[in-house]
Each structure stands twice: as structure tokens, then as C-alpha cells.
């Protein structure tokens, strides 16, 4: 192993190229994959400062704003990731790490949470962070006049108080063991307060980059904030974010060197793009998933046997292969991803089973079934195709699915939560409780299956306040089983985030919670 180590040192110090390192490592008996991983790890260990990162982002609109309350697409989310910090952060390996909060402590019932703030953190304006800023930032999303997309997640907060300059005390309406995860949400950026109100429009934050110039829907110029408190992060001197919505334009810009990285690679041509010598494809598999949501309060979906028949009548492998070209994993009819802490690994994978579908149909007292499935590409790319494939799969079980192609425009206001069965996209949530309370709890505004299960809702509240990990695991496993076997949701697959990077760009393990390294690419990546 000594030879390996000396190679690693040479490579890390830049005296050996990546190619030489790979060759030497393989000569010493490592496989290609291993050598490549090792190269990645060694490079990861030695970030370099400097340079100007140019990101091409497949979102962005002239109607975007700097206010985190209405962050709506990846463009502003990544910009927020560079300009702002939150109290906590989902680290690149998926663990919760401290950010502006140095530490936090719950009461034993998890109702009251004390967050101790990091000292000496400075805003871009020169103001020093204190507890009042945190209170104002949270109140920005609360109250009757809040137009924040984060309102539902801060609603469970009963009261926020300061305790001295560096401590904030949150009192919840009921116990919530996952609260430190919730405060990592991208909406809950800590903003400077002015007369008790958060300043949400200037773009000032505590993050590693200041927003020098922002043209909505076109570009953002970012500059490293010299007084950034975080060490070992924010390596680029400058960054430029371009909104390039057209995927072909984005791909061309990457291959011709106009940009250094892009999100949302066209998966139909990803294998061709990977052949380019100056481009690497990066892929992360997280919590993002596609669903077909059935309204359990509307016939025929109010009968669980009908739901189970449909859940057995879809060939997930075929959908994964055709719609995602393999860039994802099959779903098991619950919304918890494999990267989540309490994913139920031993729950058997549901498969395409015509006999079982027929069996459940018969149990429901039906010999055949005719249902409408609403879909549009606004739900997710390929939703209409997926629905048509589903129709073919289900036809073998005597189920006639009528695919209704809905307009993209206004899909979320006119189809979702309205039509009895429709295609939906979920970015997913970092914790089980968050995901379940957003879309599966009785009465939740986005409970798109209108599912109300007594045992499930009881467990949800119990597990939320439970601080014992083993007990929580049991409860969340049972809840995943309940959603899978009784819920109105059909989860055919989890999609990967597929990104294209110039070979000049280096990074550590990429965060899988969101695209572009959990929205933190600008602060986490560097030029090799």
C-alpha cells in the first residue's frame, strides 16, 4: 500500500496528472472504478482557491425575486444557497450539520428547542448576526399576511423568543424531534432585520457570496464575500449564473466551454454527452420522486382493492427504463427515499403482477375497470408517456386507463388536488415526518390523495415527538407499510438529479437532497 500512498501524495500535490494517477493505480492492481473513486477522493481532499465558476441553470424566469419566501425554481434556490445560510445544513453526506446555529437542545418532550447561534458572523452589509435577525427571518414566513411557500412548515411553531444575543428559543405547538432538520429548509434563510422586519428584497445574507448584479431570468454575478465565517468553503473568487432554459442550448454551452456546469442533463442524450472528453456526468439519487395520486375520497379510488389492483398493474422497471433511461430507482408506493434515515429497507418491493391485479379487482367486485388518468409534462418530464405506458401495462389486467392530456399551463391550480387521479412530481423532503406531514397527514393542504388513516395519523404525531431512534425507526417503518398497502399514492420511481460538469470542476461527495449538490454547488465546488 505504500506505493498507493506515494501516488496519492504526488497526485494531491499536483505533481502527477489524473491520467498518470489512474494508470499507476491500475498498474498497482486497482480496478478502474476503484482508481477513479480514489482519484475523486484525493482531489476532494485538496480544494483549490480561485477562478470564476459559470453555471448554466435550466430554470429561471424574469418574474423571479430575491425573496426566499417565494423561491420557486432551482435558479433562485441555488442563488440562495450561495448568498444565504440557514440555522442548520444538510451536509454533503446527508447528515445534519450546524450552520449559523452552533448547537441546539430540545426539552425532553421536544416541544421547546434552544438554538445557540455562532458568534461573530457578519452579513454582507457589515451587520453582525444576532438573535433578533433569526426571529425576524422566521416571522417573515409566519402570520396572516405571509405569502411564503414555507408557511405550512413554520405553522407548527407556537412562539419564537430571543434569550440574550445568541440564543433563540422556539416553542412548538406539539413535540417535533425533527425540528433541526426543518430549519435547514431553503426558504428559511437567515436575513438581516431592520426594525424587527426581515430585509428580504436586497439579497443580503451571511453566505459565502454577495450578489453583485442580478438580472431576473438572465444572469447573476456573484463575488466571494471576504469575511465569510465558514472555513474550507467558498473556493471560487467569483461565480456567474446563467439561466439557460433550453436543454440543447445548455448542452451546447457546456460542450463548447461557455459554461462549467449545468443541471438537468437531457437523459435521452446523457450517454452521448458522457463521451465528450471535457465533460463528466454527475448523478445523485435522493428524495425526488414521481407519483400517480389517487383521490381516496372519490369512487372508484375509495376502494382500497381498486388502488391495490392499479398498484400491481404497472411495470415499474419498464417505466424506469423508458421514461428515465435508468437514471433513477423504482419506487415502492411510499414517498421515502433510500437516502432517508428511516427508509424501510426490508419492505418487499412491489412488482408488476397481473394475477394480483386481477385478484384485487375481483375483491372489489369488479370484472373490469375504466378510469381517467390526468397527466401533463408539467407534472414531470415524460408524465404523459408514462401514463400511456401504464395504460398498456394495465390493459392486460382488464383495466382500461383513459389518459387525459391536460394543459401544462395552470396544471398545479386546475388539475392537481382537483382531478381524481393525476401525475405529480415531488422534490421530496429530508425527513420522514416532513414528507408525511406535508402530503399524507389528514387535513394537510397538499394531501393530494385525501387519505385519512387513523393509525397512520396517530403514529405520525407519536413519532414526531419521539427522541428514541429505535422506536422512531419502528414507527416510520410501519407508516411506510401503511402508505404502501393502503394509501392512495402510486410511486413508480425515484428520479436522479443528472448534471453535466466540465472536467475542470472538482467536488467532494455530492449532496443528494437537491440538485447541484443540495443547491450548494457554488460554495462547495472548486476548480481542480
Amino acid at each position: 500500500m505504500r506505493d498507493f500512498d506515494s501516488c496519492k501524495d504526488l497526485f494531491a500535490s499536483g505533481k502527477m496528472t489524473r491520467r498518470d494517477f489512474m494508470q499507476r493505480a491500475m498498474a498497482l492492481g486497482a480496478t478502474t472504478a476503484l482508481a477513479s473513486t480514489m482519484a475523486g477522493q484525493v482531489m476532494a481532499a485538496t480544494p483549490k482557491k480561485g477562478g470564476r465558476l459559470r453555471l448554466g441553470i435550466g430554470h429561471g424566469s424574469t418574474t423571479d425575486t430575491l425573496d426566499p419566501a417565494t423561491y420557486e425554481n432551482l435558479y433562485v434556490q441555488v442563488m440562495g444557497g450561495a448568498a444565504h445560510n440557514k440555522l442548520t445544513e444538510i451536509g454533503n453526506t446527508g447528515d445534519l450539520v450546524s450552520e449559523l446555529a452552533e448547537s441546539w437542545e430540545p426539552t425532553p418532550d421536544a416541544i421547546q428547542w434552544r438554538f445557540k447561534l455562532r458568534k461573530g458572523v457578519e452579513f454582507h452589509s457589515g451587520k453582525t448576526l444576532d438573535a433578533d435577525d433569526v426571529v425576524a427571518s422566521f416571522n417573515h414566513h409566519r402570520g396572516d399576511d405571509s405569502k411564503s411557500a414555507a408557511k405550512p412548515i413554520v405553522d407548527p411553531i407556537e412562539d419564537i423568543k430571543t434569550d440574550g444575543k445568541d440564543t433563540v428559543v422556539f416553542t412548538m405547538k406539539s413535540g417535533n424531534a425533527d425540528f433541526p432538520f426543518i430549519v435547514s429548509d431553503y426558504h428559511l434563510a437567515i436575513l438581516p432585520s431592520k426594525d424587527g422586519k426581515a430585509d428580504a428584497t436586497s439579497g443580503t445574507g451571511t453566505g459565502g457570496y454577495t450578489i453583485e448584479k442580478y438580472e431576473p431570468g438572465v444572469r447573476t454575478a456573484l463575488k466571494r464575500f471576504p469575511n465569510y465565517w465558514k472555513s474550507g468553503k467558498a473556493h471560487f473568487d467569483e461565480a456567474e449564473m446563467l439561466s439557460i432554459v433550453d436543454v440543447a442550448a445548455r448542452t451546447n454551452a457546456l460542450t463548447t466551454g461557455e459554461i462549467d456546469a449545468m443541471d438537468r442533463v437531457d437523459i435521452k442524450t446523457a450517454h452521448l454527452l458522457a463521451r465528450k472528453p471535457n465533460v463528466n456526468i454527475a448523478e445523485t439519487s435522493g428524495t425526488a420522486h414521481y407519483t400517480f395520486a389517487m383521490r381516496t375520497d372519490t369512487p372508484p379510488f375509495d376502494n382500497n382493492h381498486v388502488r391495490l389492483a392499479l398498484k400491481h398493474a404497472v411495470d415499474r422497471e419498464a417505466l424506469l427504463k423508458t421514461i428515465l433511461r435508468g437514471h433513477g430507482v423504482v419506487g415502492n408506493d411510499h414517498p421515502i427515499g433510500r437516502s432517508n434515515r428511516f427508509h424501510a429497507d426490508d419492505l418487499p418491493q412491489r412488482s408488476y403482477d397481473i394475477d394480483k391485479a386481477k385478484f384485487h379487482l375481483k375483491k372489489a367486485g369488479l370484472s373490469s375497470l375504466k378510469v381517467d388518468l390526468s397527466a401533463a409534462d408539467a407534472a414531470f418530464a415524460g408524465a404523459v408517456d408514462a401514463a400511456v405506458l401504464f395504460k398498456e401495462h394495465a390493459a392486460k389486467a382488464g383495466i382500461d386507463i383513459n389518459v387525459v392530456r391536460e394543459p401544462n399551463d395552470g396544471y398545479w391550480s386546475n388539475v392537481w388536488l382537483k382531478k381524481p387521479w393525476c401525475a405529480v412530481y415531488w422534490g421530496g423532503r429530508p425527513t420522514e415526518d416532513w414528507m408525511f406531514s406535508t402530503a399524507y397527514a389528514a387535513g394537510a393542504p397538499w394531501n393530494d390523495t385525501f387519505w385519512e388513516h387513523e393509525r397512520f395519523n396517530k403514529l405520525l404525531i407519536q413519532a414526531r415527538a419521539e427522541l428514541d431512534e429505535a422506536k422512531r425507526r419502528d414507527m416510520y417503518t410501519e407508516m411506510q407499510r401503511l402508505v404502501r398497502d393502503d394509501g392512495g399514492v402510486l410511486v413508480p420511481m425515484f428520479n436522479n438529479y443528472v448534471m453535466g460538469l466540465s472536467t475542470k470542476v472538482a467536488h467532494d461527495t455530492m449532496g443528494a437532497n437537491w440538485s447541484l449538490d443540495g443547491f450548494r454547488a457554488i460554495e462547495r465546488w472548486w476548480f481542480a
Binding site: T62, T65, K151, G410, S413, P445
Partner: protein, 318 residues
């Protein structure tokens, strides 16, 4: 000359009426679209309370006619208002983009107009020759392909394979002129290919139409060279239809280029308008459509004036 001034005044007055009608139509059309700004912005994350708070703040809960007259009142005072979505001044949002759009249109016109006139005159001169047919086939095929396809082909050849020009037009405010031209050249070429056929064919047809007239025959009989017959005898009389077609195409270059903007990531007015329609940001949509309508009104007026000036019969009516 009085005649012309009178016509200009009449046309401008009519133009103002047109703009008013356009604003009314656009407002009602956006009103008919499902959803409003609050729902569009919040998208999947909308809850009834946040949508209601959004509407209260932006006064979207007022009845439609009240909002329209508020807007109209502002416009009459010269105030375009603010974008509902991000509260920016609309003049500030539009200013830079309008310049970008006009710059692209001007660059495309500077290439396309001389090119198509030359091609058209030469095609008339060498009618039915191999050259004539080749030019016709080429321009007609380039107009028949969708714009984005032409754009992708140009990107493939000039940006990806040859590496001569950038594949995206990364334009920011403080570029020097030639750098700006360099970065805008591919979208301008795309637009050129799209509009050349129309202008070239019109030039050719208008001239050939005149070549059968007795005065041309006379000129031929006098022994004047064919090139001179066309440029000095036929062309002046063919100018009127040619000018009309050129001006229509110029208007198209200003208002119809959103697809080219998307493919080249060119920050022009079209993209702004599409974004604003999809978010139901009515004041911005209104402002853009007024600019587009005004472009048509003014360019048509220009076409008429130029036609009159180029035609002595219209200039001195009996």
C-alpha cells in the same frame, strides 16, 4: 408635403386608438387564462391562505375592470407601473431588453436587407438560370425549416464544429460594440436566413413583373445594358411593394423572435413577455404588447410614407 404631414398625424391618432384596443384585448385575454399570479408564482406550494395573502398585497382581489382602469390611468400619466411578480419598475425591466431586441433586429436587418435585395435583383437579371434556381431553392428551404432547427444547425457548424462563434449570446450591459456583434452574430444569421426568402422573392417578382412593360421594351430597344435597365428603369417603379415587404419583415424581427431568443439565451423582450404571460404578470404583458403594437403601427406608417415618396404619382395627386 402637407399631404404627408396630414396623413402622419391621422395615422398617429389612429395608432393611439389601436394601442388602446390592443391593451383591452390583451388584458381580457390574460384575464381569461386559468389561475392568476398568486397561484402561478406559488405553483405546487400554494395553500389557500398564502394565495389569499398574495392577492391582498397585490390588489388582485379587486374586480378586473377596476384593475384595468387603474392601469390605464397610470399609462396616461406615463407610468408603466411595477411588475407584480418582483415589484421592479417595468421601465427598468424593459429598458435593457428593448435595446437588446432592437440591436438584434438591426443587426439582422443590416445583413438581410442588402443581401436579399442583391440576390433578388440578380435573380431577376439572370432569370431562369442555374443561379436563379439555386438561390430560390436555398432561400425557400431556409424559410421552410423551423427557426430553432436553423438555429441548431448554425450552432452545430459555427459553434460546436468550427468553434468560431459562441453558442449562447451572453450579452451584458457594458460590452463594446464589436464584441456585442460577435456574440449576437449567430442569432442574427438565423433570423437572416428566415427572412431573406420573402424579401428576395418579392424583389425578384416585382422587377420581373415590370420587365414586360412597354417602357422597358423601349429601353431594351435603345440598346441599354440589361443590368442598367433593371437598376435604373425597373427598380424605381418596383420599390413600393419591396418596401412594404421589407418593413413587414422588420416588424417580424422585432416582435417574432422569441424562439431564437430561447435557443441562444438572448435576453430580449420576447422572453420577458412569455415569462410574464405564464406568470400572469399583467402590467408587464401589457407594456410588452404595447411596444410590439407600436412597432407595427410605426413601421407600417414608415412603409406608407416611403411608398408615397418613391412614387411621384402619389406624391403629386391631382
Amino acid at each position: 408635403m402637407d399631404q404627408i404631414l396630414k396623413m402622419v398625424a391621422q395615422r398617429l391618432a389612429l395608432g393611439v386608438v389601436t394601442l388602446f384596443v390592443v391593451s383591452l384585448i390583451i388584458f381580457s385575454a390574460v384575464q381569461l387564462l386559468p389561475g392568476d399570479l398568486a397561484e402561478a408564482i406559488l405553483g405546487q406550494s400554494a395553500t389557500p391562505e398564502t394565495v389569499a395573502a398574495f392577492r391582498r398585497e397585490l390588489k388582485l382581489d379587486l374586480p378586473a375592470h377596476e384593475r384595468y382602469f387603474n392601469w390605464l390611468f397610470g399609462i396616461i400619466q406615463g407610468d408603466l407601473g411595477r411588475s407584480l411578480a418582483n415589484q421592479r419598475e417595468i421601465t427598468e425591466l424593459i429598458g435593457g431588453r428593448l435595446l437588446n431586441t432592437l440591436f438584434l433586429a438591426a443587426l439582422a436587418a443590416a445583413i438581410a436587407v442588402p443581401l436579399s435585395l442583391t440576390l433578388g435583383i440578380l435573380a431577376a437579371l439572370y432569370r431562369n438560370s442555374f443561379y436563379d434556381r439555386a438561390v430560390n431553392v436555398f432561400t425557400l428551404s431556409s424559410i421552410s425549416f423551423p427557426e430553432f432547427f436553423v438555429a441548431y444547425i448554425l450552432i452545430l457548424v459555427f459553434a460546436v464544429n468550427l468553434g468560431m462563434f459562441p453558442s449562447i449570446s451572453n450579452i451584458s450591459g457594458n460590452l463594446e460594440f464589436w464584441e456585442r456583434v460577435y456574440r449576437t452574430i449567430l442569432p442574427a444569421l438565423t433570423l437572416t436566413l428566415v427572412v431573406v426568402a420573402h424579401m428576395m422573392r418579392m424583389t425578384r417578382a416585382a422587377i420581373i413583373n415590370l420587365l414586360a412593360s412597354p417602357y422597358i421594351e423601349m429601353a431594351n430597344l435603345k440598346g441599354i445594358k440589361r443590368g442598367r435597365v433593371i437598376t435604373h428603369h425597373a427598380l424605381p417603379n418596383a420599390l413600393s411593394p419591396i418596401i412594404n415587404v421589407i418593413v413587414l419583415n422588420l416588424a417580424y424581427l422585432v416582435v417574432g423572435v422569441v424562439i431564437v431568443e430561447v435557443v441562444f439565451v438572448y435576453p430580449g423582450l420576447g422572453q420577458l413577455m412569455v415569462d410574464s404571460v405564464s406568470k400572469r404578470d399583467i402590467p408587464v404583458v401589457q407594456a410588452c404588447s404595447l411596444i410590439f403594437a407600436a412597432t407595427y403601427v410605426l413601421l407600417n406608417l414608415t412603409a406608407d410614407i416611403l411608398s408615397i415618396l418613391s412614387n411621384p404619382r402619389l406624391l403629386h395627386p391631382r
